[in-house]
Symmetry: C2
Subunit: 345 residues, 2 copies
DNA sequence: CTGAAAGCGCTTACAG
DNA sequence: CTGAAAGCGCTTACAG
């Protein structure tokens, strides 16, 4: 004998009453409820999730799909853990569990998600690393699974998403550099199909145009989103006949490799080349020179995602009536020393 | 109509036969099996996990519990993602899913795990961030849930665990520094209750004794496991009247903050103070000077954990007959420039 | 306020 | 080789 039957037998009442007491139904004698709750705590009872899910038709769990490929494995910083912290906290308030679903590098992300969805492992999903054209969106829509995307796609916006404000970052970075006298500004973007590279490039070109600056095509540098990618960017810059005086990085860790390469060439970031990083990390201020970058709260982003997701779940939509969230997450410039140089006229 | 019933109706056979065909039971006509498999693929059918779990009494899922506290959120870098990559791959071969279970900072890890276990959310568990005395071990033993710990505890070893070879790291680091002439060597350990701090300190003292070097108590420096912690270590070192000539860090990211603090004081790592980091990360070789550190494969560690866990699961024990794994994961020294100095006699 | 019963979607011994 | 039926642990309308 186990589970709710054992608890009921122990208390000598029916399993129905135990269940109602545990689930806070109103039609239970308060004395009975107290006895049930006490016994449950004593015996460490928690309802079997499979039994409950099967009966209720929902799992009480939200899935956060992450892809662990070589690039994220070797290079990703603390981004996901921070977001997860915010997510768990916000979902816990609504008695929802977060389970992180890591898609193996050996499996196609679309197939993986399809399996998860068909098996009804979770009630709702957060996807990340959105591609420009992301078939997972169609899959989730067809299956009518509530979801939110961390990252835009190139397609229509008939779903909830939150993305970092690449436009704002590009504009603030270019405005700052332009004010310091820079006219030849380069940008580093990732060399993969993740949508953010396209978004950031467009935003950068738009910002440059706004300041009546022209973008030299060779100044748009594709590299891996990693420290090593930063080093190769350094190589590319050093090999240029017409070297830019500033560069905006799409990934802050690139700064480490770029600093190294510049140092090897006897050049100093912030004196010989202005460097603006992307997201402020725990390292930004401890690098030499400290990296100018953009601040945001990962925890708040997690909370935002949770709320945006809840808004798409029928059971919670009345508490979060915002509909499909389309949000650019603001990022605030933090001055460092890495672009502390003025270009003479 | 949905699920297996719909599939059976579509094929005009019984759900029992559909189930047997899908699950590879031998007593099914091959023609029938093919039809079932084709239809399942066509309709995107995958068995409802709650129904299956309830009937089978197992979930086919393994949980990896991680704690997302302020420290790990801001500082634990790519460690977990790398391990997760190895885990998913190794478990996928046995048709087991990995779900990552992040314990909210608002919840007690023991209570969280108890809930997960009582609800039978997963068949087996990997725990990390082991405390010196970790009640989760008792909980899992009492519930008879197969598990493996990533990290030792201070208690008896009647369970499977894998831990990094702190002893090996301490010995190799001290041996190398001693050979370069260092006699005053400091060590940085974390300022929390995670067991690894105790283990590393003991290993360091043992290594020092082995080389007949004495450890100045003030040279055992407790700090946060972060870049910022490295900076405070720099402060502590600079304030000492009898400054050590070398330091061994328990967390490689501390090097960033320490480098910064030394630079501010006009000192150069590798010339004025030898620095040995812990785990080689993607940044180690791109720092200036490159950080001497220890190499290991996160992916292989994940695979090792998966195999150690499978050995504790009755259904897989015959394939992995190693019993309770107790393993120190080897780490190989990678020479950098951060300790490239020789102390005169 | 409580109990008895149905049924969620599966798998599997059993009968044929 | 296939079908009918039981039952995994819950929740919830329904009857009393």
């Amino acid at each position: 004998m186990k589970g709710i039957k054992r608890l009921a037998q122990h208390l000598d009442i029916s399993i129905g009453t135990v269940s109602r007491a545990l689930n806070g139904k109103p039609d239970v004698n308060e004395e009975t409820r107290r006895r049930v709750l006490d016994a449950a705590a004593l015996l460490g009872y928690a309802p079997n999730q499979a039994g409950r899910s099967l009966r209720r038709g929902s799992t009480n769990a939200v899935g956060f799909m992450i892809e662990s490929n070589d690039e994220t494995e070797t290079n990703s910083d603390n981004f996901f853990l921070g977001v997860i912290g915010g997510l768990t906290g916000a979902l816990l308030k609504h008695n929802l569990d977060l389970v992180v679903l890591p898609c193996s590098v050996n499996e196609d992300p679309h197939d993986y998600l399809q399996r998860i969805v068909a098996r009804r492992l979770v009630d709702a999903v957060i996807i990340s690393a959105t591609q420009r054209r992301d078939r997972r969106i169609d899959l989730l829509k067809a299956a009518r699974i509530p979801f939110i995307a961390l990252g835009r796609t190139g397609g229509p916006d008939e779903h909830a998403w939150i993305d970092l404000d690449f436009e704002g970052v590009a504009h603030k970075a270019v405005a700052r550099l332009a004010a310091l006298g820079h006219r030849q500004i380069a940008v580093a973007i990732p060399d993969n199909e993740i949508n953010l590279g396209y978004v950031f490039r467009d935003a950068f070109e738009d910002a440059m145009a706004h300041h009546r600056l022209t973008v030299d095509p060779s100044h748009i540098i594709r590299a891996r989103s990693s420290e090593h990618g930063g080093y190769t960017i350094g190589n590319a810059l050093l090999a240029m006949e017409k070297r830019p005086t500033a560069i905006v990085l799409v990934y802050e860790m690139m700064a480490i490799g770029l600093y190294r390469r510049l140092n090897e060439a006897g050049l100093t970031p912030g004196r010989d080349l202005a460097v603006v990083g992307f997201r402020e990390g725990p390292q930004s201020q401890f690098l030499s020179p400290a990296l100018t970058s953009f601040r945001m709260s990962l925890r708040d982003l997690g909370i935002g995602l949770a709320e945006g997701l809840l808004a798409t779940m029928p059971a919670y939509a009345d508490q979060f009536p915002q509909g499909f969230v389309h949000k650019l997450w603001p990022m605030e410039l933090v001055e460092g020393e890495s672009d502390a140089m003025v270009i003479g006229r």
